[in-house]
Amino acid sequence: MYTHRLLPNLYRDSVSLMQLSASLGRLPGVEQAAAVMATPANLDLLRAAGLMGAALAASPNDLLVAVRGKSSASLEAALAAALAALDKPPERPAGGGAAAPPPRSLQMGLAQAPRANLALISVPGEYAAAEALKALRLGLNVMLFSDNVSLSDESSLKKYARERGLLVMGPDCGTAIVDGVPLGFANAVRRGAIGVVGASGTGMQQVTSLVHRRGGGISQAIGTGGRDLHREVGGITMLQGLERLARDPDTRVIVLISKPPAPEVAKAVLGAARRAGKPVVVNFVGAAHGAAEGKLCFARTLEEAAAAAVALSKGRKPGRAALGAAKRPAIKFKAGQRYIRGLYSGGTFCYEACALLGDAWSNAPVDASRKMKDVWKSREHTVIDLGDDVFTRGRPHPMIDHRLRNERLLAEAADPEVAVILFDVVLGYGAHPDPAAEMLPALAAAKRKNRSIAFVASVCGTDEDPQGLERQESALRAAGVLLAESNARAVMLASALIKNI
């Protein structure tokens, strides 16, 4: 039996048609095949070869594919193969050719990496929402590292994503860990059973690195961006993240981290947490915490959240860390030295310090009445978030560039009322490659100005971070810095130092 397909006004040169004929002839069940331009001479040839019957209304501009074989199925398959070959020629330039140019748009990127499942967007804020919307439209999940995206854009992006089963982490999402891969500013931690959803970048870095230091591991860490739990957004990403972790077989314990949410959002999130069917540890940084119930428990600090999660993941009951018991090292302060000055690169560390100290002034206070009037002038106890927009305008974030903090550190040390300078050092991807080295000269200079000043710090990081936790800690210790394992402990140590002065 034989059959044919006529493709009107389709031209191919004879060499490629001969190649096509040969490849069709090799298909199973095909005895003979020909792809030709339908000239009268070619039609005669095909008839002579027994590939077609008598009459065919065709013009020399038409392309004719004719096949002869055993079954109609194999002939149809051969015709389909011919159409596919004619329709989809190879894309590779002949003779090798240059490598494909880097993609200039998400759509181009997707053409190059068709299995991409996440767009990590760190473009200037005014373009960020547009890129995020495009990514969602193209079926990609989004991590929006960029900030300066409006609340209404955030809300509409997240609603759009939710309708399509996609996730928007951010805007202003500094960190995430997906399938063990660090995204943005993240610490290198081992994989494990603890899933984290957090509205705070440094809060998540603290929890994930402490989990690692205490022998636990992270399944997924999903950032939501700092405003996800605002009333206007309604915790969309946190609720989605919670649901995914609840379903994720690798996650046995869930940790939720946020600054205190709007009450109705807190209600929705805690309701979902109760329904997760897994232990959930909640730390609403700086908020009075509720009582444990069922599988839901509250942690007072980020450290406590990490400790509770590790305990639960190992099948133990979470204990209560004795936070107030920091031992007071013997330091002789001069008369008049009595205040703590906190210089933070991590916003959530600053916020946690505010909450634990209770009576400190800040540019980002827990209690609005303690807001500094002039962020450049400290008074009494003061803790400053140096990652605040007022400090980062026109210069890199203090986790990358330590100059502003070093200057401020010298200024604070020169103040005779200051007893303790409290700070954080954040390691991990995205952070400065050697923060201790950046700080040492400033610490030494401050000591020269004020020999009885105390430095108290915590290093947020792990032994697997590019900067090396051990190396950073030894360098700081050698410079006379009193180190605590967590920010909460550093704050309590600073408090202990000035007690009873």
Binding site: P8, S105, A113, K134, R137
Partner: protein, 470 residues
């Protein structure tokens, strides 16, 4: 739909490059985007674009538009007189290239050509009177594109001129263009001396009737296969038409010899055509116009259906935005100039011939034409790179036009204005360069790019039209 967990993490990294390094170090896949703000950073256009990328309605409209373009089957339907053939052409009307423009703003070559057309039509006796007539407003000037027509360079078309009639057998629409006059002192470059006018009259009185009687013996001259074959012979059917003109004359000669036309006229016609490697250009343009008119008018589509220049402005139209033009200043072409000429002598980009690029040939098929790669850097690889770059701003490949140098991949076709704005990759156009003074003629050739601003404006308008329908 791509789920975040449960499949290997593959990240498109848009922005800080160092993030991609960390991802790869930990076993994820990262594709680094060479990102810059789209639309030259114009915020309103960026937002409009974001609303259209991946928009299912736009995607569906584009699929329909490009399908119509691909299905079109232009064939040569004959030669008519413009006043009878071209729809809406008034008795005192002259058509020109590019988007609409009034006499006062026209470039030198276009003014020169209009004066020539007035003399040719016999509406005035000398150039001064013709000029006064053009200035007076007695003559209506409209774009060729408003009348299903296209014209190279100044693109001047007046009622008495003979026109190629190309019919798209699939959708039934027709497109028109004048007959190519050859090189040297010609109307399309603004020349209007007596020899130019005499040649136009000869084309009307002798060439057109002779060809007409020949075409009677030549049924159904299908143009797509002819163009496809020319692409395999080193043409890109815009700036190089040597092969296509040869293929055409091969078809015409036997038909002419069999016709009843006087042998002397047949000889003159053959000699004229054989002496002009660009003879096919106008047919190529009309064929492209007929395919794109078929694609025009699909509501909501972002497919570009016209790119054209009038020597002052570059204009585009979208399939989904009806009769609207989106314009920007026409660029001066940075090309190769004939001896004694340079960029400062050049008129800004001119002519409807960018209809070929709009249809996916010309600059888009540069890979087919190694003979003209000297315009694009000199290496064959540069021509391939140009064609490949266009695949990132087009909707489909045209399987009817294949490129041997790219292993017979189809030409990139169906420009998507969204992709142009999103990538900043601008449509590449092969073009001749006219002297800015009328009548000097061609002074060079080269490659230019369609200006981004046309596409940015079109995207803003398309988004607004979608918002209105929503």
């Amino acid at each position: 739909m791509n789920s975040l967990f449960g499949q290997p993490l593959s990240v498109l990294n848009v922005g800080l490059a160092s993030f991609a390094d960390a991802i790869e170090k930990h076993g994820g896949a990262a594709t680094r985007l060479d990102w810059a703000p789209p639309a030259a950073g114009e915020r309103k256009a960026c937002d409009a674009l974001a609303a259209l990328v991946g928009h299912p309605g736009v995607d569906a409209a584009n699929a329909q538009a490009v399908e119509r373009y691909l299905a079109a089957q232009p064939k040569l339907a004959g030669i008519g007189a413009a006043r009878e053939a071209v729809p809406g052409l008034g008795e005192r009307m002259i058509l020109h290239a590019g988007p609409p423009i009034e006499w006062q703003r026209m470039c030198g070559p276009m003014r020169g050509a209009i004066v020539g057309a007035i003399l040719y039509e016999g509406w005035a006796d000398d150039a001064a009177r013709a000029q006064a007539m053009a200035e007076s407003g007695d003559i209506v000037f409209e774009p060729c594109h408003h009348h299903a027509a296209v014209g190279p360079m100044a693109g001047i078309l007046s009622p008495s001129m003979p026109v190629w009639m190309v019919e798209n057998a699939t959708q039934g629409n027709r497109a028109f263009s004048t007959l190519n006059e050859g090189l040297g002192k010609v109307l399309r470059f603004g020349a209007n001396s007596p020899e130019v006018i005499a040649r136009l009259r000869w084309m009307e009185k002798t060439l057109a009737p002779t060809l007409r009687s020949g075409l009677e013996n030549l049924k159904d001259l299908e143009l797509k296969p002819l163009m496809a074959q020319a692409l395999h012979m080193g043409d890109e059917v815009h700036n190089r038409n040597a092969a296509a003109s040869s293929l055409l004359i091969k078809r015409l000669v036997p038909a002419l010899l069999k016709s009843a036309a006087p042998p002397a006229d047949v000889a003159a016609a053959i000699e004229f055509i054989a002496g002009n490697d660009h003879f096919f250009l106008n047919i190529s343009m009309a064929a492209c116009k007929s395919m794109l008119d078929a694609a025009h008018g699909v509501a909501g589509s972002s497919m570009v259906s016209v790119m054209a220049r009038n020597g002052v402005e570059f204009g585009i139209r979208l399939s989904g935005l009806g009769e609207r033009w989106f314009t920007a200043p026409a660029p001066v072409v940075d090309g190769l100039y004939f001896p004694n000429y340079s960029m400062k002598d050049a008129a800004p980009d001119l002519g409807d011939s960018a209809i070929t690029e709009t249809a996916g040939v010309g600059g888009f098929a540069m890979a087919a034409a190694p003979a003209i790669v000297k315009f694009v850097g000199g290496a064959a690889q540069d021509a391939l790179a140009n064609t490949l770059a266009m695949t990132h701003i087009t909707l489909r490949r045209n399987g009817a036009f294949t490129l041997p140098a790219l292993d017979f991949a189809g030409t990139p076709a169906g420009i998507d204005a969204r992709r142009v704005v999103d990538t900043g990759i601008l449509p590449v156009i092969n073009t001749g360069i006219a002297h800015k003074e009328p009548g000097v003629g061609q002074i060079g050739a080269g490659v230019t790019r369609a200006p981004l601003a046309c596409f940015t404006k079109a995207i803003v308008a398309l988004e607004a039209s979608w918002r209105k329908t929503a």
